[in-house]
Symmetry: D2
Subunit: 338 residues, 4 copies
């Protein structure tokens, strides 16, 4: 931490879900942040610690009614709700980190197609993936925090697309991404009950790439006309935290593993939370951390297998949000995250 740093006040809107709770846990550890208010209208009046006894915090949930007294606002709301609140917070000169999908897609028509609502083309928030946009984030006041699946896939692919190795061209990417069940939120659904999910595993939304445009946008290619074929199957498996993504990548021309590892190592040289692993990473290696692990291997046919692992609630949500906040406010990027 920068010793001269002032203490900033922070509030969380949508603080009763799993991402909101993870934010409270991290912000409590942060020496430069004072948590001011927790908003969650469905839980208004209850203590935070009633819902999350393992995270001691004596705040009471309130209903958000336009308050602007904090320095920075985190929004951890269902998709669509941030669109209504962000303009007011921007107008009040607040710093903002939105964890929803509302501002992830820059193109208004893509947003409408994939999220199903209109949004004003004026409000563009900086896409908050520090490993790709650190300089822009440092200069920003409002951030759209990436999605969890997108984070695990973009970080696995970015060096291939943005790393600048001569002659490297990707023909196709096949992704199988397995999420922990907390990714479905704190919800009462029969199909997410312990009795249904213990011993179980299921794919969902097969053939419907809602995450594709976000990934393409970050990689610098077009979702409607991407430069490569992209297929993704999301699944859930019986663990609470984590996303484990297997990316099968076909390259247009051969490359050596040494050159590819060098490409990745160079691309992430300044990224404190991306670890290029020697062996095969596992979900437990990153659970409850802000790391994104990357493992690389060749298949016999010369195609590349990239495996990435993150904690969906940390690097895939609250941790990346705090990492973005650190950059915006001038803290060391890793404060409260190691």
């Amino acid at each position: 931490m920068n010793q001269q740093q002032k203490t900033w006040t922070a509030s969380v809107i949508g603080a009763s879900g799993y991402s909101g709770a993870e934010l409270i846990k991290l912000l409590k550890r942060h020496p430069g942040i004072e948590i001011e208010a927790l908003y969650a209208h469905t839980q208004a009046g209850k203590h935070f610690s009633e819902l999350y006894p393992a995270i001691p915090c004596d705040k009471v949930f309130q209903t958000y009614e336009g308050q602007t007294d904090s320095d920075i606002y985190f929004l951890a709301l269902p998709h669509g709700e941030a669109l209504r609140l962000v303009p007011g917070l921007l107008a009040a000169g607040k710093k903002i980190i939105d964890l929803s999908g509302d501002y992830r897609l820059e193109k208004v028509d893509e947003h409408k197609h994939f999220y199903g609502g209109d949004k004003s083309p004026e409000a563009v928030l900086q896409y908050g993936m520090p490993e790709l946009f650190r300089d822009e984030i440092v200069k920003s006041t409002a951030i759209s925090n990436p999605g969890c699946y997108a984070t695990s896939i973009i970080l696995g692919l970015a060096p291939l697309f943005r790393g600048g190795m001569v002659g490297l061209e990707v023909e196709s990417v096949n992704v199988t991404a397995i999420s922990g069940i907390s990714g479905a939120g704190r919800s009462a659904k029969t199909e997410l009950s312990f009795s249904e999910m213990s011993g179980n595993m299921r794919a969902y939304k097969v053939g419907k790439h809602q995450h594709t445009p976000e990934i393409m946008q970050a990689l610098g290619t077009s979702a409607t006309e991407p430069s490569f074929r992209f297929v993704m199957t999301p699944m859930i498996a019986p663990y609470v935290r984590g996303i484990y993504s297997v990316l099968n990548v076909r390259l247009a021309s051969p490359a050596t593993m040494a050159s590819i590892r060098e490409l990745y190592a160079g691309f992430y040289a300044d990224a404190p939370f991306v670890r290029l692993r020697n062996g095969v990473t596992e979900v437990s290696h990153v659970a409850n951390t802000n790391f994104c692990d990357v493992s690389l291997a060749f298949e016999n046919d010369g195609s590349l297998v990239i495996i990435t692992a993150i904690d969906n609630l940390v690097k895939g949500a609250a941790g990346q949000a705090v990492q973005n906040m650190n950059l915006m406010l001038g803290f060391d990027e890793t404060t409260a995250l190691l």
Copy 2:
């Protein structure tokens, strides 16, 4: 069951592992089988029910020393051990079902390359996948039972390769296959402990296709010169039973979903254990059953996603073995399995 059927005596060599125990459970329910002896030299002298109290059976494990008094022998041994026992059992005129990999690969050089030992080219056992080789199995006396990963992948692909739809050609197949932890056997390993695997998931043998030649052989193509590109990543997830395989298939030319479903439905019209599902199957839909579920969907880019689910210990091992036995001995194919 054929009413005139005599009762056959059956023994299991390697009866103390998970596949062996599953065999006992199924054979106990079979009206035409009497279990005669259980062999497991590391557990010799112990009662079966000491190891598996949920499967009541009062037999005591013995050491196998060449006994040939039963009509049929199941071998559920580690790879390499069946090679020593099968010749003697064949010479004694016994019926045999071998659950190991020892006789799966017909080509001696492929076997040596992938399993690392020599075997006599004379002894060829019939590959026991009823959905592809029912007629041959009915006429056989010795069966090599398929591997669990191979079963889940072959049954997902066979209609595309052997189903005879005009113009259908597969360019590439990318497989992610997730196994339950029982697939690693009944073993004492730190990395398979509850403390390590709860909340965890890991890939292994990335880039090393030990299952490829078995799959290629069954599909009628060559492992060294397959007609399509094939990539497979095996994983384990925190559940005990099941294999969930996601097959991303790129076709050389477009096809309609209706025609592909018709192809699959026709191919499996007489297969009582393969279910072409309307929605997306799940591991719990097949756990503790002999079913192989198949779900089909198109991706936006026109490629096909095939998801299959089996129980690795049932359809992937003991259940398929009993299914093969039923065919060999003239029982209804589903006896003791529904």
Copy 3:
């Protein structure tokens, strides 16, 4: 099975819950039963196999409107609903097995106190615990199936209270009983979600013995004035199936372990599903079976520790119901249950 047995038709009212589904699984295996209709008004029109793909059954859920065409009716309904249906079924001369609590307590005032509704004092169903009331069940046409907690506790204590060892008197019993989460039913509740229950354990209804009167009644003592002190704490742990009960029993005078084991062995000599174990039983030893395992040990202070294990959906519900049916209809007690 009695070879001359006719085939009986059976219907299940409340067939969409976990106990109902378990009943279908068991009845399908029964050689003397033909499943006729499945009633579940919230799921009417859906196929059974849509909800339970692992249990192949092509029946469609219907709404129950007073049908009486089957020989035997199983009621697996929420507490209170059987009270409305049983009189009509009795009047129609049907055989009945009710899995709810509606007819478990014989005393009308106890029922009102613990279940909170009135019931007619005329309709008394036979309490269906075969190990204690086999002769009465054989002669009955209508059975009230015991509760799952009560089953695991009564079977652990009955030899002490009803076994007739001279001088044996129980001063107090402290019970901790841990149920699998399926005991809470197939329901959509946040507190039963995988994300909340994985890695978790909780007691509930502490200090509120709703199961006490059923246990006292079966043991032949009074709930309001029992002959011994009785304390029970129910809990749930992160597994799907099972009840594991630890009974700390203080005896009024010393007894030898040999004499107590002899008492238990004698009491259960004719009970095919109660196993007096030598070592300590585990939940996995009885999961998916109709067994009730009993382990016995002394504490240093001379008090007795009895541990029992059952599968709450089998011996604690559907399995015991089929066991009762077998006795009522004249089948072998174990038919479809081993």
Copy 4:
């Protein structure tokens, strides 16, 4: 933290097990501690992060050969090994926290009886339970850290025995204590494998109270002649972290819940990690924290049910060790623990 505090160097002997790893995680967060060396002879030469990738730490495991260069030594070794190392460390004037059972029992004969080895009567370490012995710990240089089961039980009972409510007398205590599987250590055992423990639960050492003397000693009564009857059954359930203890307490004379709650609240008024809860606590409420939660309720017969929950690796081991260290070194008791 005391601002003038110097930085102390700390080493961990036995750093490769779960308790050792948890210590590293906590010490890394501590602003007044620098981790110096990690000793684990079976893993010597490996990086700590190879075994625990989720806890970034670039130290390499070494073999301990009598080094005394650190200010404080944590010993997280199997029972018996600290007895050989502590005398040398004491002689060198080092501060010591021993997490094993070697110095928990003050009476040499009790130690010999329960742990099976001799120990010198001279070396007595302070029993490190801050809630009972804070003043003594502050003045100590060598601490014996309590056992995990004992911690969960002593903290549940101490106010009754040491709290000084007039007329309060305990007749008997029946304990059922359920531990997470990490309590069995990082080990390769078939019976602790995921395949065996998923869906399972088991009691062990039934009737053999190895934890009794530690509990009696802390409560101020004699293990051989305790003032009340004490029975304990330990179990493991399928979760990784936590101990959930249900204490059934029979009081000699009636007391009101208000007076008992007041007793507990007063007794723990200065204890930052003991929480007297209004409702029923759960394992997830304390997992990954240093809290010990206590819930209180009356049974119908007037006996008291006390439920406590801790994380066995934190409050039951490494967290309590750091809490003791904070007291010994003059840090705020909660440093690195909230």
